[in-house]
Amino acid sequence: MNQRIPTFAVVGHPNKGKSSIVATLAEDDEVAISATPGTTRKAMVHTFSIDGEAQYALVDTPGFQRPGELLAWLRSRTDSASDRPGAIAAFIRTHADDPRFVDECELLRPLVAGAGILYVVDGAKPYGPEYELEMEILQWTGRPRMALINMIGSGDHQASWKRALGQYFAIVRVFDAMHSDFDKRTSLLRAFGELDEQWRAPLERAVVELERERSRRRQRSAAEIADCLIECLTHCERDTVADKGDTENDKARLSRRLLNHIRKRERQSFERVAGIYRHERLARESTETEILDADLFTSENWEVFGLSQSQLAVTGALSGAAAGGGVDLLLGGASLLLGAGIGAIVGGVTGWLGSGELARTRVLGNTLGGRVLQVGPVKAVNFPWVLLGRAWLHQHLVSERNHAYRDAVIVAVRSDTNLMDSIPDALRRALGDSLRRASSGAPDDQTYQKLSANIDALLGHDPATLDHDPAITTAD
């Protein structure tokens, strides 16, 4: 642990959300969080770095287990306030190998090394006098300290906690580890800087860099969503099908394949966006994207070398005309272009009628073509908007979600709901234009960049303003 950087030991009673606060501030969904007391058995240092340069560190510590005995030991050592920090250090030295005080040694060690104190209590539960043992021990350390009232349940005992904590801590703040948004998190980081003047600059730098990182994450999410939309809006499924097969059955099969592809791509996009926000293990519940058969563009053609039956007929006609034209030329025009005309007719008819046989011809083990059924792309007018709305909602939920919160994200938007009513008209028009280009079948990198930029602007808005709409689930 590098004590030259601001270091904060998160300490307190077991099961009061110490690890949750660390998980949220460190954006780490791997921090073990459990209702079982004693989940954290060793002090765990989480170091925030910018380009490898450590800015500050959080130390997740085990909870107090025998605070009464510890305080009794300390009191037995000294009466002088000036000797109290020394008594703490002496306790660690004396009990370094004592299995009864493993947890106390682990949590006190960073404080002796110079860490600031973040004392965590649960403001949803009543205050109890047993907490005074812990607060007094922390007072003995002489380290700068702040109390955080975490709100784990539905109760509200903040007032009694504030009265008690105010006697031991210079700063008392309420911080909901599960639901605090980004601004509250950065505000808390800034508040850490109030504990010690020297800590202010590195913490401010950390906050500025976190804000930049957040902006970049939004851009990268927009890029990912744009890429997903382009793929989903242009994707189609093609397959060579039996000459006299059940066309409806084949269509249904390809429709399912198309829908599965779109769902898979959307899930992949959700995962990638979650990854951008470092939610690597996020469980997700989502309503399925609805696509009706009527929404699908469907075509059925004979194809040889990728040419449809009509295209093959045109090609045949042109080839026949060229060959016939050659005959005309040989005759010096005496045939009055009959050669070209007959050639075109023969070539065209052959191309039309012969496409099936040609398609079945095998060359090097492969047929040249066959009856090709194509399903997709999805042509429903509201489809791009539904996809975009779901992506917007998901990004919002993920970006505002704290890493301590382990429940599944629920993305549910009814297909008949227009999330876009809440955004400015100009942005809606720009998005509409970008989506139309993306659906064109040949979107290029400029289409992607414009769509990405417009989605970035969209992500700057908050779909939670539509919380009152029962068709949308934004709560998780």
Partner: protein, 468 residues
Amino acid sequence: MRALLASAIDILDWLESDATTDARDRVDRDRRIGKTIVQGPRYKQVLAWWAAIAPPEDSLSGERIVALLGLSNGVLALIGTLLGASMAAAVFSYQGDYPVNLFALLGILVGLPLVMLAASLLALVLPFGQRASVFDPLRVINPGRWAGSWLERQHGVSLFASVSKRARASRFARWQLIAFSQTFTIGYFAGVLIIAFMLVVFTDLAFGWSTTLKTDATVVQGILKGIATPWAHWMPAAVPDETLIEASRFYRLDETATSSATLGQWWSFVLMTIMVYGLAPRLIMALIASWQLNRATRRLLEAGPEIDALIDRLRTPAVTFESPDRQDAPATTGKPPLATVLELTDDCGVAIWNEAVTSEALGRLRSGPVTRVEFIAEWESAQAQREHLRALAASDHRLVILTKGWEPPLLAFLDFISLIREELGHDVVLVVVPLDTTRTEVRPEDREVWSNALARLDDANLLVASAV
């Protein structure tokens, strides 16, 4: 450009598989590389990063695809040359009876490809949305399309759905199609010119023009001089004069023929027309396509979520939280104590731990008063705790301990249980009752926490009770 394309294919594929690499490892790796890369165009940064990554060659497919593209180009050029040669052989065919019709010759050999080129250009400059209507008919006779289909069908190389499996790569695909077409057409004109030149050198050709219309030769001269304008001032011999034009007009019923030597003078005009209006535009178009293809290839490495993320990792400070090794939640040991329902009787002792409940609230837990009650707290010394327990010792062989159910049991509480055993012996039945005064009943998960913690004591005479 071949190397660039191979790299682009490999990089995009590799980035896709790199998504499974741990995010922090990616950030560290790429930022470390990024610090060694000088600022410049995005694609150059990506290529510099790729050089630093240096993945094993055998895992890459870019070179193979580029080689297939090269093969496709070669095959197209060959087919084009053969077609051009065949067409030229047919169109230049001269049996000695009638001269080769200049208009038919130039119309077929030059005019038709020129119309195709114009349509292609039109499709390129048309506003978005109208392109498809122009491009779709062209696809039928587009050699590039044939090559793409062949590659996909025979080699599984999906070039146009995308060289990189990305729909947004359509710019690349479009220019690759155009480049293929130019290769084919350049081969075609090469074939035409070779045959034309050979026929000029080794046979006697005669050219003429004919029309049913009452057209003055000066009109035709105007047209032909217009055609010859590009080379008129530096190759005047290839510009037909009025005499030649007049002499070259023929009527099939007219037996009087101009000498073959005179009619053969057209050859230089014909070859120049093919070169200037047939080959040259295709060469220019091929150069443009090559340039645009190069740009499109570069853009594959400049835009896209993977590229954006990579550039981000290369250029911006890595913001990381170094986290320690994980620790798993401790496993529950021992047999959980039996659950029971709280029954407070007159003669049972009650220990209230850490002020879990007030005396008044305790009264509400039973119908009558409980006479033996001791308030015992964590903050008391062991000696004080012993004295409380001794006060409870005269009671029935049953001791009820009321605790705050919302607080987890600390080791200090387990120490207290051990102290009870020391003072009261192991025959006393201990009933631990986690209460929740903020609710009507303690939460099941809190009761489970208590059960699991007390299980560590492995005490058969220890029960956990619930109170409503």
